[in-house]
Symmetry: C2
Subunit: 315 residues, 2 copies
């Protein structure tokens, strides 16, 4: 597969126009005070399905010109993105969700009309998915290692830079690298001087080692509450990231929770742990960010507060 | 005191320009689907100090042209608004907070430089406050029964109608009536046909009876989780509301929680119970709202999620 480039991000933006929500960019004097920087949060927590993943999913689903069913493997956000993208473009969506399946996420996928497949415990989810693609003669859309997905994810940074062109730095969380790869392409297509940093939990440090060693170091025993960041890089995301990244910020679990708390208490935004990973370097006042204009891609807000609401009227 | 009018709201908007945050207006296809209406949420949960109260507080503090200390009585949001307004205009803020004092709210007031006074249990907070005004030769700013406060609160609706002029209906929660009075003045100054409804918890129904009986029916034993709505109307808010309101929607406690949950799960916004009171009539598909373009003033987002964050890393 050819690597995507800036023009693919621009094409994706045209394709997504009127379909994705142009999410708000939020600022906070108190975040600026605490970080000694000028910070712009691109709030993809307010994106449709609650995460940036809808951008890449919709771009990939609509770039496949056939009307074949779409098959994807995901236990969460990518599955919801694909299900909604297919509903909007009149295609059938088949989502392979490995056990244990979160019932809220399963219900959300089904609410968008997606057909859920749960491989039995002994079956490898990847090979199950490939069998399903053959059986249905379907189109496969990988969660991050796909040029159309990467280009779609880059449109969040493109929107942010449209409103705030003079950014010095962009921060984003890194799991499979789809969001960060697209962010790099968008940023450097507009301004090669912007420094893009990947933010990674200390308990799932595979991307840092992969970029350093220039090979995909698999993520085998991730230890982090940032669910979305437990995956390894892919064959497309690794070379893009090696070319573009200015560096990595490594974040501890306590810093993730502290950043979630800060952003909620001071800005009234509920952000998922993966997003908090990209805010934490600001709160510890990383020298590379001091005095800079910093954009942060807030990847999503799918945090389960149902126990909080359950407790509101007492028992 | 003379009743405030539309021109006071316009003057307040000029005074607040560049000081208040112009809060986002959020929409949701799913909220529209569930309510059979077209809904625009004016998100004052993203206002400075997390509530619309900052608007009225800042307007009132700066309309008092003297540099005298400001005294206010409030256990929560109004106190924070006054403290920040005074800091920004170089005045001393004295906040009388009756017991039991919420330590988070007390800390927030002090963080803005406010001086907190807690009357001893046997002292009436109102007379304690008036003694303090005399002792300090200070300026008193009531939380809602003040023309400048009312005019300031009206600027939220003014902003909303600036972006979405063709609204049929405006909804807001009612406690002391400051927000709703200002909303009425703003709406009917621009378009007398807009129907403004007050939304009130069934467990704190004093405003409905006050308007029906044209006298202030005191709120004696409020039974609602919507803390901000436990107060009675005032001598300024009652006549404005009688003149302008199209009616009341009465909301049960279970509906408040269901609306908080819906708005969080579908729109990723954490709103306080008082705000949910104004969303609930939409979710039960009130006939007067069907097919209409409805604006809702989301009053604030000061919800304490600290126990949720405390639990994130296990124990």
């Amino acid at each position: 597969m050819a690597l995507p480039d800036f023009h693919d991000v621009e094409r994706a933006a045209a394709c997504l126009k009127g379909i994705v929500r142009e999410t708000p960019i939020q600022t906070s004097r108190r975040l600026d005070d605490h970080s000694h920087a000028t910070v712009f949060l691109k709030c993809e927590n307010f994106q449709r399905v609650g995460t940036f993943k809808f951008r890449g999913a919709y771009n990939a689903v609509t770039q496949r010109s056939s009307s074949k069913p779409v098959v994807a493997l995901s236990s969460g956000n990518h599955a919801q993105g694909i299900a909604l993208a297919c509903r909007l473009s009149g295609k059938e969506a088949h989502l392979v969700m490995p056990e244990p399946v979160n019932p809220i996420k399963r219900a959300a996928v089904q609410e968008y009309g997606g057909i859920v497949h749960v491989p039995s415990g002994s079956r490898d989810a990847e090979s199950f998915s490939q069998d399903l693609v053959r059986e249905l003669q379907g189109e496969w859309v990988e969660a991050f290692n796909d040029p159309d997905v990467i280009a779609g994810q880059g449109t969040a940074a493109l929107e942010l830079l449209g409103y705030v062109p003079a950014l010095d730095v962009l921060l984003g969380p890194i799991g499979g690298g789809g969001l960060l790869s697209g962010t790099c392409l968008a940023a450097h297509g507009l301004n090669p001087k912007i420094r893009v940093y990947a933010c990674e939990p200390a308990g799932a440090l595979d991307a840092l080692y992969s970029v350093l060693e220039n090979r995909i170091v698999p993520q085998e025993y991730p230890q982090t509450i940032a669910e979305g960041l437990r995956t390894s890089l892919g064959t497309l995301t690794l070379p893009i990231l090696r070319d573009h990244l200015a560096g990595f910020f490594v974040v501890e679990e306590e810093e993730i929770v502290a950043a979630m708390r800060f952003v909620y208490e001071r800005m009234k935004l509920v952000i998922e742990p993966a997003s908090a990973v990209a805010v934490a370097p600001l709160l510890r006042q990383e020298p590379a960010l001091q005095g800079k204009r910093v954009g942060v891609i807030i990847s999503g807000g799918n945090v389960d507060l149902s126990r909080y609401f359950d407790g509101l009227l007492g028992s």
